[in-house]
């Protein structure tokens, strides 16, 4: 292939050309807008260089919402293609690209950053800290994720998208069967984002272990912090496996190594194994923080403390360990011995036990509680029955003998959406609403939010429950069309209607944000939900230093005790506060990573070498830099606190 022809889209269509124009126009509008309103400096000094965990959390949130839109469009396109038999909306190549990017974008660039957004924003507040252990590294994590995601996304207009599925199994993902650069984007985009995620794991584990407020022992941590701790440990153990797998995949594609080839001793199943040794823990990296969020929301809106705290912690730790011993269940049909399948069947089914314990704990938390049906609580209540259905079908899939019937059918697709959407998506949407006033200082409109919830829930049921039936009847996943004689038509039409309702709910979610920015009152109290943990003890929105005085923790629900049981939260006087300095380093480093990644995708070696040198120069610069941070003086703290009405109001 010629040098320039590689940059062209292999299978262009009017949709892609119009998207190119749309992207170009949007970028132009952003640049013109920033220049016109003189916001470049604001953007640089306030956001691009920030090391504040709250701002980084908000940037994660915005990226996640953008990616939710991108992945959602993919989803609607797929459902539209399958809505009627023998549809010609998408051709097979385009359909392959759409389901591949839908999977990657939703898991790695929507769900992960959404979880990271909440971890970044909430965890330091919940443990009474002023920032994470390594604020600069935190910014590096965010920007690496962001650049990895952008690199992955431009594949769609430059060179073509990955088309080997989100699992990219070899030999399909090898050069022979995927000759265009799409899969290079997959390997390198995810690699860059994955390095960022690994750094986040290290950062949060250190933060939670070392920076808790005085009195907060491990068994007095709020449940979301516990889930962030366990998740960080899983990240640290799981992500290096992905790093190695992606390096091998990249080398197979760029340097013709023989890891996963069909010749010269290569072993395609090695990829499948490595991918799922990371991939299965990855789904717990998503779901455990989601469980943690539900464990914050449900007690608040039931006005009861969390039932079974110790068993909640124990089951999370148990799940985190077991998550590394189940990966083979993703390919029961791919040639292991029967006894191997049996062992992994059993380990997989065992996971249902701790998960079941957690479900019962949430139910017992609500039992005899005074439940308020707010938007976050609706998501939590909707989660329990829907997630249980997903869990039960998961146990069905875990039976290796029966899996020969389910494997790679729509039944599987229905199952994993049935756990991820009510599990992760409901959690992040509910928690997004719950923490919105802490982030932005105003509440989201409840009425529109409830409409969005019902559209999402009903749309979800309509979209995915029919797939269980068509899957059992033999409709394979990733098939771009089917004939009328299969009889799958009507059920797929119902799925399409469900997908359309879910799309409407997304529009409603965006509308509720817009509406609330315009109309919501700005004078919400610091604790609008009458909540129980420390993040609500500070002001709304949170000042730069989080807490003027570090809180004293006496129990699992310190803030509740401070409000109703006379616990003294803030003792002592103001002292000057040490804060980290902002830095452009992380952003610049990540931009260079982007260029380096792009050069690798297209094998432009001189640019790749320049990029690599640039990365090392950034690291060397960081090594020699002297940065002691800065202090916020007592006068400044008094001034800020006075604006918020003083610190000691919870005494």
């Amino acid at each position: 292939m010629g040098f320039f022809s590689r940059f062209l889209i292999p299978n262009p269509s009017p949709v892609i050309y119009s998207s190119m124009v749309a992207i170009g126009v949007t970028v132009l509008l952003i640049i013109v807008g920033l220049t016109h309103f003189k916001k470049w400096f604001f953007l640089w000094s306030g956001w691009l260089t920030t090391v504040d965990h709250k701002r980084i959390g908000i940037m994660y949130l915005i990226s996640a919402l953008l990616m939710l839109f991108r992945g959602g469009v993919d989803a609607v396109m797929m459902r539209a293609q399958l809505a009627v038999p023998d549809n010609k909306l998408l051709d097979s190549q385009h359909y392959n690209e759409v389901f591949s990017t839908h999977g990657v974008v939703m898991i790695l660039f929507m769900a992960m950053p959404y979880i990271m957004a909440l971890m970044n924003f909430v965890v330091p507040l919940q443990i009474g800290a002023r920032d994470v252990a390594f604020p600069r590294l935190n910014a590096v994590s965010f920007w690496l994720f962001f650049m990895g995601a952008m690199l992955f996304n431009i594949s769609f207009v430059i060179g073509g998208s990955p088309d080997a599925g989100w699992t990219s199994y070899f030999p399909l993902a090898g050069n022979e069967f995927s000759p265009h650069v799409g899969t290079n984007y997959y390997m390198i985009g995810i690699q860059i984002a994955g390095i960022g995620t690994l750094m986040t794991g290290i950062n949060f584990l250190t933060t939670i272990l070392k920076m808790r407020a005085p009195g907060m022992t491990l068994m007095k941590m709020p449940m979301f912090t516990w889930s962030a701790l366990v998740t960080s440990i899983i990240i640290i153990f799981a992500f290096p496996v992905l790093t190695v797998a992606l390096i091998m995949g990249t080398m197979d594609r760029l340097f013709a190594t023989k890891f996963f080839t069909m010749t010269d001793g290569g072993m395609d199943m090695l990829w499948a194994n490595l991918f799922w040794v990371w991939g299965h823990p990855e789904v717990y990296i998503l779901i455990l923080p989601a469980f943690g969020l539900f464990s914050e929301i449900i007690p608040t809106f039931s006005r009861r403390n969390l039932y079974g705290y110790r068993s909640m912690v124990a089951s999370m730790v148990f799940i985190s360990i077991y998550s590394f011993f189940v990966w083979t269940h993703h390919f029961f049909t791919m040639g292991q011995a029967a006894y191997v399948n049996s062992i992994f069947s059993i380990t997989t089914m065992v996971i249902a036990i701790p998960t079941g314990i957690k479900i019962f704990n949430w139910l017992f938390t609500m039992w005899k509680g005074r439940i308020r049906f707010t938007v976050p609580m609706l998501y939590s209540i909707g989660f329990i029955p829907l997630f249980t259905i997903g869990g039960v079908t998961g146990v069905m899939l875990a039976m290796s003998a029966a899996d020969y019937q389910y494997h790679n059918t729509m039944f599987l697709v229905a199952h994993f959406h049935n756990v991820i959407i009510p599990g992760v998506v409901f959690a992040v949407l509910g928690a997004g609403t719950y923490y919105w006033p802490k982030m932005f200082g105003f509440m989201l409109n409840e009425r529109i939010g409830k409409w969005a919830f019902w559209f999402l829930t009903i749309g979800f049921c309509l979209a995915f429950f029919p797939m269980y039936i068509t899957g059992l009847d033999g409709q394979a996943r990733r098939m771009y069309t089917y004939s009328e004689s299969t009889g799958f038509g009507p059920l797929n039409m119902i799925s399409f209607i469900g997908a359309a309702l879910m799309a409407i709910s997304f529009v409603l979610i965006v509308y509720t944000i817009y509406y609330s920015i315009r109309h919501a009152p700005r004078d919400v109290s610091d604790d609008p939900w009458d909540a129980r943990s420390l993040e609500w003890a500070t002001h709304n929105p949170v000042p730069e230093y989080n807490f003027a005085i570090i809180p004293q923790v006496n129990s699992r629900e310190t803030f509740w005790d401070a409000k109703y049981k006379g616990h003294e939260l803030f003792k002592g006087d103001y002292e000057k506060i040490h804060m980290p300095n902002n830095s452009g380093g992380p952003f610049i480093l990540s931009c260079i990573f982007f260029v380096f990644g792009f050069a690798l995708v297209f094998s432009i070696w001189f640019l790749a070498i320049i990029g690599l040198i640039g990365i090392f120069v950034c690291m060397a610069h960081r090594s020699f830099e002297i940065d002691h941070g800065h202090y916020i003086s007592v006068e400044e703290i008094i001034e800020t606190e006075a604006k918020f009405g003083g610190v000691n109001k919870w005494k």
Partner: protein, 198 residues
């Protein structure tokens, strides 16, 4: 920065203690990285295709030299940290320079070894076995190379700024990294070379 004088210099501030714990956790991730490489190596070791097997490639002399150089360097950097603890900057710098020179010698031997393999017809593309062999050794070698630059930067900083809580912290963390690479090498020596030669 509050400095706690009851602690060694590298542990004396809160940020220093965070850095050291964070780096231990990072080493945990590095263990997973090398564990994955080793697991893949064991999977692919007999899949040599038309290329040579380990027993045909490996020679004991250069490998012993590499082992000797790297293990000695690990001991010397330990002496360097000891010198740092008793506040002897000059001795510390000398030991660090020796460490890096030994590391450089290791890299030199490794490169000649790679060239020999290449001449004997074992390239990155020959077979699954040679791919994983070069990748595992190369990942370790790249870590050592990165360490050479990192160590050099630290020597320059200690020389210029003296032994402060920051430079002591960096030196200590670098020594952790260097010991870790040594431990990985012991596994490479045992499970790739020794096992491969028999």
């Amino acid at each position: 920065m509050e400095i706690d004088h009851s602690q060694p210099l590298e542990y004396s501030t809160e940020q220093n203690r965070l850095n050291i714990l964070g780096f231990w956790i990072f080493l945990g991730a590095e263990i997973m990285l090398f564990a994955t490489l080793f697991a893949s190596y064991f999977t692919l070791v007999d899949r040599t295709g038309n290329g040579p097997a380990g027993a045909e490639l490996f020679e004991i002399t250069p490998v012993l030299a590499e082992t000797f150089l790297l293990l000695t360097s690990s001991f010397v950097i330990g002496l360097g940290i000891h010198a740092m603890r008793i506040g002897n900057k000059k001795a510390m710098l000398t030991f660090f320079v020796i460490t890096l020179l030994l590391g450089l010698g290791f890299i030199g031997f490794e490169i000649t070894e790679f060239i020999t393999y290449y001449r004997e017809g074992a390239t990155l593309q020959t077979s699954a076995f040679t791919s994983i062999l070069f990748t595992t050794l190369g990942t370790h070698g790249a870590h050592v190379t990165l360490g050479l630059f990192w160590g050099l930067f630290i020597i320059l900083q200690v020389k210029k700024r003296g032994l402060t809580p920051e430079t002591a912290n960096k030196s200590f963390i670098f020594s952790l990294y260097w010991h870790f690479l040594d431990i990985v090498w012991i596994f490479i020596f045992t499970f790739i070379y020794m096992k491969g030669m028999t």
